[in-house]
């Protein structure tokens, strides 16, 4: 019960209505019909204090129910601040759910190089909406009442939203995968949600990333360093690579002796649209021949990515004019190469073994 004294007929009526908010809308409207007028009349009759004249709104609502032959509310006696299954609440929850799912879809789409289209997002939102209202209908027809109905609704709605969100994510995943992924990528061999994920860096700032310029252009390593820093990696100053000859295809190496370096390397490769990743052996192909202080990951920047923005890199990767799984060095032994699909977020990458 509210401790505030309703000072006007309108407020009193509103509070009475709030205590009946669990009723179906038509029943609520019908039982409240004309009551605000009545309360105003009682005030006009010389009884300005409606609580003194009619009792508390809660008691009034309870009397109305009893006399009208409507069962008392099961769960809320004495706990009026508890959840009320009103239309306002469900509308609010609905909007919130749509918002959250939309956000999730937007995040997924962004991680997949911005390929999701507005139509897909709307389709997901629609699916969630339908799931929600079906749930509501089922619960309302189920004959549960009061607190039980609230709990059942909540549980069912949550389940429905989760299902719809997962379906939506799969749909978006598939849709974006339909756009002819280039052969160098692992889309064909990786099954979303079922493949063995490589150890994704839980903290991809733990190991610093260095960019080494192995391209034929000057000053491009600094630009790439900035891109990686913008994506959230911790970077060290770029350096010149010692690749001879210069390389066309960028790839990532990591220090096997550094905990978490492989995961960070995979994440770098994924962010850049899918590069090959391999362990680096000393001397690595940077000026000093060694890992920089605090760094266990080096991006050897080739002509393919030199001087390009992240957007251009991802566009290029999607266009198929970009092969990422070139294993460098003719004498290199077979290495375990983690290929990260540009389509999938790094979480769903697979480990495949390729020859040199």
């Amino acid at each position: 019960m509210s401790t505030d004294t309703p000072t006007t007929a309108g407020m009193y009526a509103q509070e009475v209505r709030a205590h009946l908010a669990d009723l179906p809308a038509e029943q609520l409207d019908s039982i409240m019909d004309g009551l605000d007028t009545h309360f105003a009349e009682v005030v006009a009759d010389g009884q300005p204090d409606l609580v003194a004249a009619l009792g508390t709104p809660e008691a009034y609502a309870a009397d109305l129910r009893a006399a009208a032959g409507i069962s008392q509310r099961a769960a809320t006696v004495g706990t009026p601040s508890s959840f009320k299954w009103s239309r306002q609440h469900s509308a609010l929850t609905f909007a919130l759910g749509i918002g959250l799912v939309g956000l999730a879809v937007a995040v997924i789409a962004r991680r997949q190089a911005g390929v999701a289209e507005v139509g897909e997002v709307l389709a997901v939102a629609l699916a969630v909406g339908v799931a929600w209202w079906v749930t509501r209908l089922v619960v309302q027809r189920s004959g549960l009442s009061g607190g039980r109905r609230t709990i059942a609704s909540g549980a069912l709605a949550f389940g429905a939203m989760c299902t719809a969100a997962v379906c939506g994510a799969v749909v978006v995943d598939r849709e974006s995968g339909g756009g002819a992924p280039s052969p160098g990528f692992a889309w064909e061999t990786s099954l979303p949600f079922t493949s063995v994920p490589f150890p994704l860096a839980s903290d991809f700032t733990s190991t610093k990333v260095q960019v080494a310029n192995c391209s034929e252009h000057n000053g491009v390593a600094r630009m790439m360093t900035q891109i990686l820093a913008d994506e959230g990696f911790t970077t060290v100053d770029p350096t010149n690579g010692t690749c001879d000859p210069k390389i066309d295809t960028s790839y990532v190496i990591y220090n096997e002796g550094t905990a978490g370096a492989e995961a960070v390397a995979n994440t770098v490769a994924g962010v850049l649209g899918g590069l090959s990743v391999e362990p680096g052996t000393l001397p690595i192909k940077v000026g000093s021949g060694a890992w920089a202080e605090g760094s266990g990951v080096v991006l050897l920047l080739g002509n393919d990515l030199a001087g390009k923005t992240l957007e251009q890199i991802l566009d290029q990767a999607r266009g198929g004019g970009f092969t990422a799984t070139t294993a460098p060095g003719p004498a290199a032994p077979p290495v375990t190469t983690t290929t990260v699909s540009l389509i999938e977020p790094p979480l769903f990458g697979t480990t495949t073994t390729v020859g040199p």
């Binding site: 004309g34 009619l54 008691a59 609502a61 009397d63 109305l64 006399a67």
Partner: protein, 124 residues
């Protein structure tokens, strides 16, 4: 000294006769909710609960014992008037008969008259 709460019992008593008195209050003339409250209070049921009357009107209407129609008011919003339907009048007649029998029996018991005769009437 035992503490007695007559209010509570009276509330219980009123609950049992709400349908009858609300129907009766509308038997002579149609009225809106507040009319019915006022008529019942003027008739001696000073403590009848406003909400009980409104709730009863809604329920009797739902049962088809009352008709309702809206009359525009000079002072402001509309008022919902209620009147008895044919089945409302039948129900009122039944209530009257039942109440008379009940009141007679209770009256006789409380006054002691009921126990002056050899046979005690079964008031069930």
């Amino acid at each position: 000294v035992q503490h007695v709460e007559p209010q509570l019992e009276r509330t219980q008593l009123l609950k049992g006769i709400l349908d009858a008195v609300v129907l009766a209050a509308l038997a002579a003339a149609d009225g809106y909710g507040y009319d019915v409250v006022r008529r019942l209070r003027a008739g001696g049921l000073a403590d009848i609960a406003d909400a009980s009357v409104y709730g009863t009107l809604r329920r009797l209407f739902g049962q088809g014992l009352l008709t309702s129609y809206v009359v525009p008011s000079d002072e402001g919003p509309h008022r919902k008037y209620y009147g008895l339907t044919a089945s409302g009048r039948d129900a009122l007649a039944a209530h009257r008969g039942e109440w008379t029998q009940f009141a007679d029996a209770v009256g006789a018991i409380l006054s002691g008259i009921a126990f002056e005769t050899k046979e005690v009437r079964n008031v069930d």
